[in-house]
Amino acid sequence: MKALIIDDEDLARAVVRQHLAAHPDVTVAAECANGFEALKAAAQHEPDLIFLDIQMPKLDGFEVLELLEAEGRRPAVIFVTAFDQHAMRAFEAHAVDYLLKPFARERFDAALAKTRTLLAAKEAAPVAPPAATELAATARQGRPLERIVVKDGPKITVVHLDRLDWVQAQDDYVLLRTEGRNLLKQQTLASLETQLDPGRFIRIHRSFILNLDRLVRVEQDGKEHREAVLRDGARLPVSRAGYQRLRELWEET
């Protein structure tokens, strides 16, 4: 079994490595100090298992997992983190194991044993693991998303939500408009909508979500045809239901 250890702290990686020494069937293919290194190492080594920290610079653990998914890779994951234990407990429902720092050898061995069973079962009958975005949403415990990672060919772009103007549905993809650029990400508009802050982003049309901060006014031409005029002069269609949602939001404030 090939494994990657992904953690931004040297000593945290050392603990995992040290515990793995007792399991000769697991080889450590690489150690990665950040998400970018992890993606590179995953492409190179195609690991069966990754030990993944959550709070890391630039890309957090969930974002690493999401980008791996986008590449069609889905190794078994053991989260190793000092993250809030309540949030991590929710992962048990997703059959994903986690180790809370610092952890005992017994706990480590148990997580590894569980992973072995999981991998064996998967070989017999492949099951789709929970999506990384879903896990991230579980861990956020109701707090809305703050940024979106997009894999754009070989490049990875992190879009912070206050730089996101609007989102358009394009079949199984969403088109993200940010700082004059268009980025494509494989996700449905409906699933993205559930993760956004409803006070900041609003579904103005079947195919559009708008950052409210960008809205200047809504113009009506014709009986049921409305358009949102944005700060940069762009115009987006507003449906009747979308207009209703906008009005509800205005009436609340």
Binding site: A33, K58, L100
Partner: protein
């Protein structure tokens, strides 16, 4: 108990206030052809009795507090009017009894007759005086209420400060603690000597932060010692990603400041600065003295790709509030983001023990 009876000085000035009323009463009696002896002998004791009789307005006013609007004013007016009539009547009754008593003296034998003709005037005056006493009572009640509100406000502020300190004490960042323990766990196998060292650092940090939480004011030197212990631990965790630069003027160290003002700043510098950078950077703590003021700053690089935070976070807001709460306009707090560096700056007067 009535507030005027609570202190001798208050009672004295209240009774003194009745002297002009007694003089007025005597003057009125003189115009009706009373002798000086008759006027004086009646008005002085009558006013003394009235002074205590009309204090009863206090009880009535306390039972009928003034509301915000005019609501219920008619009911209260009726109560005041009835009480005033009763008291006026009672007072003139007392005047008559007094006159009967005084008539035992030969010089004052004409008094009962004269008082009988003056009874309507005495009753009227009594009603007016009682109503004045009602007004005075409301004034006293309002004053008492204001004092009480002030006292309660000050008490609340004390409680708020206490609970804030307690909250600060409890704010020991769990993420930091667990990560540190994890580092120790790693070091026990690879480098037992450093593991031991880190245990000592962590204990020192915990002991210091628990100790500081008990106090309102500390010296900058003590705050710096806590920050040193904290950063020494983070140094082990982050390794070469964290470089520390201390630029401390020893003259600033005895300066007094509210407890745990520096700690949130260095914790922020790690959490929102060094930890978000793959390469890390230099964290600078600078303390200098200029023109009787301490200039304290914490500087750290931040991720240039992340959007700058909107406004101050809760931690920084608390720091500013507590600094200004202690030193007011003599102090200043600034947080700035420039050229990929975050800088928190505190300026406050150099005060020592």
């Amino acid at each position: 108990m009535h507030p005027l009876l609570a202190s001798r000085a208050r009672l004295g000035s209240y009774l003194l206030g009745w002297l002009p009323i007694a003089a007025l009463l005597a003057g009125m009696a003189r115009t009706q052809g009373w002798t000086w002896a008759e006027a004086g002998a009646l008005s002085l004791p009558l006013c003394l009795l009235g002074a205590f009789l009309f204090l009863s307005a206090w009880t009535l006013c306390r039972a009928l507090p003034l509301g915000q609007g005019t609501e219920g004013l008619a009911n209260r007016g009726a109560a005041w009017g009835t009480a005033a009539l009763l008291m006026g009547g009672l007072w003139s009754g007392l005047a008559w009894l007094l006159a009967r008593g005084l008539a035992w003296l030969p010089a004052l034998s004409g008094l009962p007759f004269k008082v009988r003709t003056a009874l309507p005037v005495i009753t009227g005056l009594g009603i007016l005086l009682y109503l004045a006493s009602v007004a005075l009572s409301y004034l006293l009640l309002a004053q008492a209420r204001t004092l009480e509100a002030e006292r309660r406000g000050a008490e609340l502020q004390m409680v708020a400060q206490e609970s804030e300190l307690k909250a600060l004490r409890a704010q020991l960042n769990p993420h930091f603690l667990f990560n540190s323990l994890n580092s120790i766990s790693a070091l026990t196998a690879v480098d037992p000597v450093r593991a031991q060292e880190m245990c000592v650092l962590l204990s020192e940090f915990l002991r210091r932060s628990l100790g500081l939480g008990e106090r309102r004011l500390v010296t900058l030197g003590e705050e710096l010692e806590l920050a040193r212990a904290y950063l020494a631990i983070e140094q082990i965790r982050f390794g070469s990603r964290l470089q520390l630069a201390w630029r401390i003027d020893p003259a600033a160290e005895p300066a007094l400041l509210p407890t745990l003002l520096l700690q949130p700043l260095v914790e922020n510098a790690i959490k929102h600065g060094i930890a978000t950078l793959t390469e890390g950077g230099v964290l600078t703590v600078d303390a200098a003295v200029t023109e009787g003021h301490v200039v304290l700053s914490v500087d750290n690089p931040v991720d240039a790709d992340a959007p700058p935070p909107v406004g101050l976070g809760l931690g920084l807001r608390q720091v500013r509030q507590r600094l200004l709460g202690r030193f007011g306009a003599r102090s200043r707090f600034e947080a700035s983001l420039r050229d990929g560096h975050h800088r928190a700056l505190l300026v406050f007067p150099l005060e020592t023990l």
